[in-house]
């Protein structure tokens, strides 16, 4: 009897031990996955539900924008950057124009600087509104998506009236802006500021305090300051890891040296921190626009430039702060009407590759939250 028992228990032991022994396996997340917000493919190495490795595979929406720039004139390059990070299109346009103006050593009128700064901040706001809505939706709250879009619509209307397009505005031209601002621009913007100041606390009420939301973001996706710096994670994602990297403060362009605003830095290093930085940035953006909107100086909306722009031979670099982080534009000119080489340092690319460090050891369900707080725009990564 005892023998049989011992046999069974031995067998049981064996079977249980082989059941707990796990094997790593692979899962493809994307390229057609609703929460990657575009054609991004992540190759996940999983151990049960635990993430061991995240390997981003990119290139599904590569359009060779950098190569196309080599045959385009400097005016034409601008509209291509709309198609990189389409949520900060105005800021991308501005980056190229600033780089070209640097090459031409052209001082743009003050009016242009003010208009560019206001519209950049409106773009940042609209991008963060969309991100907030989508972030809620990724975590299962569809309500936030609709609320985010409701408020974004007001900004889009401002763009449509002044710039002529809702998303890919192409409002900047080297030397200034394409048209003067619409007579309604100031009034509409002020109405929006008033409106959104009332609505922004709703965002906090709806999502920030929500118990499900905090459980899914707090202490999830830890990215230390050292890692953030070594990966070059910039923008709100970097600042949530305590990395002070706001180009608007470090290397002011346009009218940012004339306004007073705070660089939001948090040291939580987790998804919740990245969320809070963006919410706080919305308040700062409102504050920046408030200071500028009544003081737009009179003057030309465009400095005089030649019809065919040729940059003197040399290298020109300009960086700006988009809604996602630091965008760098690097132009090499050989005195022709198209640049010899253009390189974009896009924030999304660097931010994405920190995902591996960030996600290691967490559950697969948290990956969606982490990606949301990185605020990835896939065309920006692939270009």
């Amino acid at each position: 009897m005892s023998n049989i028992f011992s046999l069974i228990s031995d067998k049981e032991k064996q079977s249980t031990s082989s059941a707990t022994e796990t094997q790593e396996y692979f899962v493809n997340m994307g390229p057609q996955h609703p929460s990657t917000h575009g054609v991004l493919r992540l190759l996940l190495t999983l151990d049960g539900e635990i993430i061991r490795k995240v390997e981003p595979h990119i290139g599904y929406i590569h359009r060779s924008i950098e190569k196309m720039c080599e045959k385009d004139s400097y005016q034409q390059i601008v509209h291509l950057t709309d198609r990189m990070d389409y949520l900060s299109c105005h800021i991308n346009n501005e980056a190229v124009c600033l780089a070209v103006e640097k090459g031409l050593q052209l001082e743009v009128p003050d009016r242009v600087k003010y208009i560019r700064t206001i519209i950049s901040e409106l773009t940042r706001l609209s991008s963060h509104q969309l991100w907030w809505g989508v972030m809620g939706m990724d975590l299962g709250a569809i309500t936030t998506f609709l609320y985010g879009f409701r408020d974004r619509e007001q900004i889009i209307d401002i763009f449509e009236e002044t710039c002529g397009a809702r998303l890919t505005m192409n409002y900047n031209v080297p030397g200034g802006v394409m048209f003067d601002i619409h007579p309604n621009f100031q009034k509409r913007t002020k109405d929006f500021l008033k409106y959104f100041k009332e609505k922004l606390p709703e965002y906090d009420e709806l999502l920030t305090g929500n118990v499900i939301f905090t459980e899914r973001t707090k202490d999830i996706g830890y990215l230390s300051k050292e890692d953030a710096i070594s990966y070059g994670v910039t923008g709100p994602s970097g600042r949530a890891s305590g990395f002070s990297c706001d180009v608007r403060k470090k290397d002011p362009y346009s009218a940012y040296d004339r306004v007073d605003f705070k660089e939001i830095i948090r040291t939580d290093c987790d998804s919740y921190g990245r969320y809070k930085v963006r919410i706080a940035e919305m308040y700062e953006s409102l504050h920046i626009i408030e200071q500028l909107i009544d003081n737009i100086p009179e003057g030309d909306f465009k400095a005089k430039t030649k019809a065919v722009i040729k940059l003197p031979p040399g290298e020109y670099y300009q960086r700006v702060e988009t809604a996602r982080g630091e965008l760098g534009v690097y132009i090499i000119s050989d005195n022709k009407k198209s640049p010899y080489r253009v390189k974009f340092r896009s924030p999304g690319f660097s931010n994405l590759f920190a995902l591996d460090t960030m996600a290691k050891g967490y559950k697969i369900a948290d990956l969606v939250a982490m990606m949301s707080t990185l605020d990835l725009v896939i065309p920006d990564i692939d270009r």
Partner: protein
Amino acid sequence: MFKSIYKYLSDIFNGVKTLLTGMKITGYYFFHPKEIITQQYPENRETLKMFDMFRGEVVLIHDENNEHRCTGCSACEIACPNGTIEIISDKAIDPETGKSKKVIDKFVYHLQMCTMCNLCILACPTDAIKMAQTFEHAVYDRSTLTKVLNKPGSKIMAGVKE
């Protein structure tokens, strides 16, 4: 023991409270439907008007005599970043001077390639083209998106010089 039960219960209570805070906002909008801004498209097609600046498609301006201002100079074609515009020009005898001069035969516009960047409008020296506010561009056949913008029988306005 007592403490952990207390914590357990207070967690539940706080959780429910935060959920209710969110529900309060949704409830508010449920009872205030006036504050919802949804547009009923396409039912509101008649009243829906785009802003004057809105860039929908490139059109060649014709006046009531079927005359336009395009000289066929191709500045728009050169300014366009993606080959959307093709100017096919022709020679005609100018009735005043008797010399032959360039006129457009066809102003071909490939709407499917246009990115609405507005560079052609800025480039035109005679303001012959503008952006129209149309936005419903869906068609069944892609070839119908290639348009000839100068109307049949149209000619250049008198006095417009390159």
